[in-house]
Amino acid sequence: MAAGQRNGKHVRRALGVIALLVCAVLVGVVTAVLGVRNHFSSGGVQSGVWATNVHIGSTGASPYLRAGVALGGLLALNASETVYYTATTDESGAALRTGCEYRVDGTEPNARWWSITAYGDDHFLIPGSNGRHSVDRAAVERGADGSFTVRVGGAPRAGNWISTGSAGASQPFSLTLRLYNPDASIVNDLAGTPLPRIVREKCS
């Protein structure tokens, strides 16, 4: 075999090894980012459509949860101070979308203060909401039995209503239920805490 042919073979082999290692790095990075995108994926609990994790903000959080918190809940308080439940689907399991209207039916959570806030897929408040991003304990209108219904999305309306932005392309969104100074019964049973139901009414 001529020296030139041997050198060419070595060069091709070296390039192949480099490409293989670059691919390996990419696979490692991409699988890591996908793995932490849902910050409840590590030891999280579910109550109905609402997900949370008792280790959010805690010094006992796993590396995956810390990374998930960094992406989707930076500066979150620990569970003894605040419990954060997030819903990305309705009761049927379909993803929440800005082009649909929902009814959120609930009863007073056993916490000092609470709020329900809508966030876009980028984890920020949704543009075009004209300040109607949330409903909270102080402002919510309740029925005689203490229960409440909050409408989410659709045309602007008075009372218990959260906007999901102006009309346009239907995008995924999420709702976060914050429970400040929750009762110990909630912290001790995050999965068993009764939480509002999210029912889709119609989609445009």
């Binding site: 082999r13 090894v17 293989l20 290692l21 691919c23 390996a24 790095v25 990419l26 696979v27 490692g28 990075v29 699988t31 890591a32 980012v33 793995g35 932490v36 903000g57 805690s58 010094t59 959080a61 590396p63 995956y64 810390r66 990374a67 918190v69 960094a70 992406l71 989707g72 809940g73 930076l74 500066l75 979150a76 308080l77 620990n78 101070e81 000092r112 203060w113 709020s115 806030t117 966030y119 984890h123 920020f124 408040l125 949704i126 543009p127 075009g128 909401s129 300040g131 991003h133 949330s134 909270d136 102080a138 976060t176 914050r178 400040y180 100074n181």
Partner: protein, 177 residues
């Protein structure tokens, strides 16, 4: 048995992928907190209080801000000196002061019910630092040299906004003199 040439490289690729995965998971929170800390410090510098406007759809620095709260913050750096943090607790509205390490951990929190005196006076230090505490101040050890202090004030009623904002702005964060 001798492993084939490409077999060795494939094994190495698997090891590299696992290391890249683990490094990404470990680095991600630290990188995000570092960016957030630097953005906060850009306004006033480290160990200085900042008072961002009420969160709305134009707030794009920290994810999932609450529009029902007023925030005050401080990017702390205790590497060279302790930092004194003081705040006034507004009456009858939820309030908390929390501290976050470089890896996102919420390593300290105090709320309005726990701060019964109506004020909070803390000295934040690097682990193991000896410091003469001012009278009435409480020592807090930070697990990382840099991080973030954040106060949350609930806007219980819109007509109390000005009063609550005035209390929020009495938050201070400065090197211990």
């Amino acid at each position: 048995m001798r492993r084939s040439g490409w077999g060795r490289w494939l094994l190495l690729a698997v090891v590299v992928a696992v290391v890249a995965h683990a490094l990404t998971v470990w680095l991600l929170p630290r990188a995000v907190v570092r960016v957030a800390t630097n953005v906060m410090a850009e306004r006033e510098g480290f160990n200085r209080a900042v008072f961002p406007p009420r969160a709305d759809e134009t707030s794009r620095t920290i994810v999932r801000p609450s529009p029902d709260l007023l925030y005050a913050g401080c990017a702390f750096d205790v590497a060279s000196a302790p930092v004194r943090i003081r705040a006034v607790v507004p009456g009858d509205a939820y309030w908390s002061l929390s501290m976050f390490a470089a890896n996102t951990d919420n390593f300290f929190v105090v709320n309005d019910r726990q701060a019964a005196a109506g004020t909070v006076d803390l000295v934040l230090v690097a682990p193991g630092t000896k410091v003469a505490l001012p009278p009435g101040a409480t020592l807090v050890e930070a697990p990382s040299a840099r991080g973030i202090v954040l106060t949350r004030t609930l806007i219980a009623r819109e007509d109390r906004l000005a009063e609550l904002d005035e209390a929020r702005r009495r938050f201070t964060c400065a090197p211990l003199s």
